[in-house]
Symmetry: none
Amino acid sequence: MQAAIIAVGSELLTAFRTDSNSLFITSALNERGITVAFKIIIGDRRDDLARTVRGALERVPLLVLTGGLGPTDDDITREGVADALGLPLEEDEGILQGIRARFRARGMSMPGTNARQPQVIHGAVVLHNPNGTAPGQLVARDGRHVLLLPGPPREMRPMLLEALDKHLATVVPGIGVQRKVLKTAMKSESYIEQQAQPVYSRWAAMTPPIETTVLAAPGQVELHLSMTSASKEEGERILDDAAAELVSVLGDDVFSDDGRSLEQVVGDLLRSRGWKIGTAESCTGGLLTSRLTDVPGSSDYLDAGVVSYANWAKTALVGVDDATIAANGAVSEPVARAMASGVRKRLGADVGVGITGIAGPAGGSDSKPVGTVFVGVSFPGGEVVKKYRFLGGRDLVKGQAAQAALDMVRRALQAGTPAP
Amino acid sequence: MQAAIIAVGSELLTAFRTDSNSLFITSALNERGITVAFKIIIGDRRDDLARTVRGALERVPLLVLTGGLGPTDDDITREGVADALGLPLEEDEGILQGIRARFRARGMSMPGTNARQPQVIHGAVVLHNPNGTAPGQLVARDGRHVLLLPGPPREMRPMLLEALDKHLATVVPGIGVQRKVLKTAMKSESYIEQQAQPVYSRWAAMTPPIETTVLAAPGQVELHLSMTSASKEEGERILDDAAAELVSVLGDDVFSDDGRSLEQVVGDLLRSRGWKIGTAESCTGGLLTSRLTDVPGSSDYLDAGVVSYANWAKTALVGVDDATIAANGAVSEPVARAMASGVRKRLGADVGVGITGIAGPAGGSDSKPVGTVFVGVSFPGGEVVKKYRFLGGRDLVKGQAAQAALDMVRRALQAGTPAP
């Protein structure tokens, strides 16, 4: 079953705010086997809303609207939906008394503007609002359902769940959407796609089908699998098998199939070996160490790190030979290698990482353009140094360099290096 | 003039992600006098997109689409818009060569999947993408315009501005929305609101009115002023006066009125004095140093930093006395003070910063709950140490602690400390 979400409010069309209620609504719908076909964000105009509701009902059998149920002139959701459905609005005396009582309990009398809130679309089920004055409404028409909810999350959320589980339970399927995410590092979206597409393209035709979405960010490409299944167990089993098939073609480019981030995977690999990691960062300026310490409990495997931005700091704090810098330049393979082994020794760590590069926008040259980064990893099984050429601005170069360093550590550790 | 924004991507219809590009797009449109009538978020289905584009073009003369221009099967924006407009797709040889060259420059050959990206809607203006492989497209049809932009923000943003200012400049109105942003650090939203509201509430009734929006994030509250004016100069003058009035009530809680971030302001203060900063981070794990080095040219004032996570590292790398840690605990005012002065001395810096705290979720106690953070700043004019108690998860504690440290350095430097 498919639904659409319509968020009503001109403030949601400014540059400063957008709809966020739809994330909670989507989650609640997904858990009940309903997928979201589209979302619309629209201003406080009655004719616009009426037209939008009519158009959306031609495409999906369930609409969830949030916002525009308040007392002021620009709250037009009741009127717009009534227009769209061709149904009249009627005053509900019970709601009116309830709002009056609510104000009275706070020692106030009901402002005249609130008199619009008891307007109910003919035939609607009224949804009680324990956290505010605007009641919700659920209208059925020709086998389709329109749910009107207030905008404030604390009012909207309980009413949504009540509507879904009490009033719509007989019309929504009882099955859920299962998901699984495979994460890969340091491969391009098109490369991953080329490997994975022959596998997952077959799944779309299966019964039930598995939907696959490819999500790419700099240095990380994720494959999101989802399916609707009769039972949670069956869905999990099918997705586990599907994920295993993808891993068989993607190999160790996949670093996680259980939601863990790259820094969590690296941390778990270090902890399982009882190893410590030490970092010497130049162009990443502390970002790698900050990501490593984003993980709760990272003090188990990280004691210290050094940001050696200036050349003297690479020598004094990390032990890189002056002559190595003079002969090769600070951004070079020998310096990255010396930073990794030097910081490993200086910090008494098992794994040492050195990063040196040109984050830009200045500092590049023909032979070493902006984005040139060398990463070294020194570990009990040996050492590895790689040269990268990252595209994008300063933040992207920093981000990809930190990601590359984490992935090099992961691969070195997963390659089965022996305990020291 | 009105526009609509359509974000394409099934991942934007999950419970985990939603469209955020539309905020930047809205801002750019507003600045050029264009308002956003509605926004639609839609999945990767060609027929759905075609229908949506057709419906949207009946209501507004300008559509901005983001996403779905990648190389994979589920990137259907080119096809969907071509269907909606009844125009054929044609291969653009120049784009194909450009993508090939891009892969070649990185020592790779173009994967076959990228062959779909050079498909251009008949008659479209091709928008060059310096930050990725997917070109943008601008299609005109019956006096209406459809702009196709990629999803990744760093690719989308420059192409949007190019399209608006170069290719659409003759069709968009020349009157603009002027904006000014005041940024404050380490004060609560309600405190800033209480100070500022009596000032800005009068502006809404002015002719022309100034709109004020308060935006709060952990550790930072911003006041966004905007107005539509007949001329850029008049708008700027009115907003400058308005900003000055707000600064007169908010005082030095305002750190920026010109768009600069807190780390940029701190960097400029250091550079103008010819000073260097050195950092010793425990619970922030490198985040402060990473933020300082996010600023281009930060090597002018930052040579090095230390992440001293373990106690031995605080002693060995920063020079904190063992006895100070033993007597007070690692998370304490004396240790933050000793870290600040110690790292200043060890790194030969003019300003030293020490941060020690409990980021959580474990490690808290009754006397020092999770979120307890001490920040010390040692500088030529003296030293200051503050105790904080931050709320929220690990990432929020780290973020607020780095923000607090930056703001303490700013205040110390702005207080007019003499040059050394």
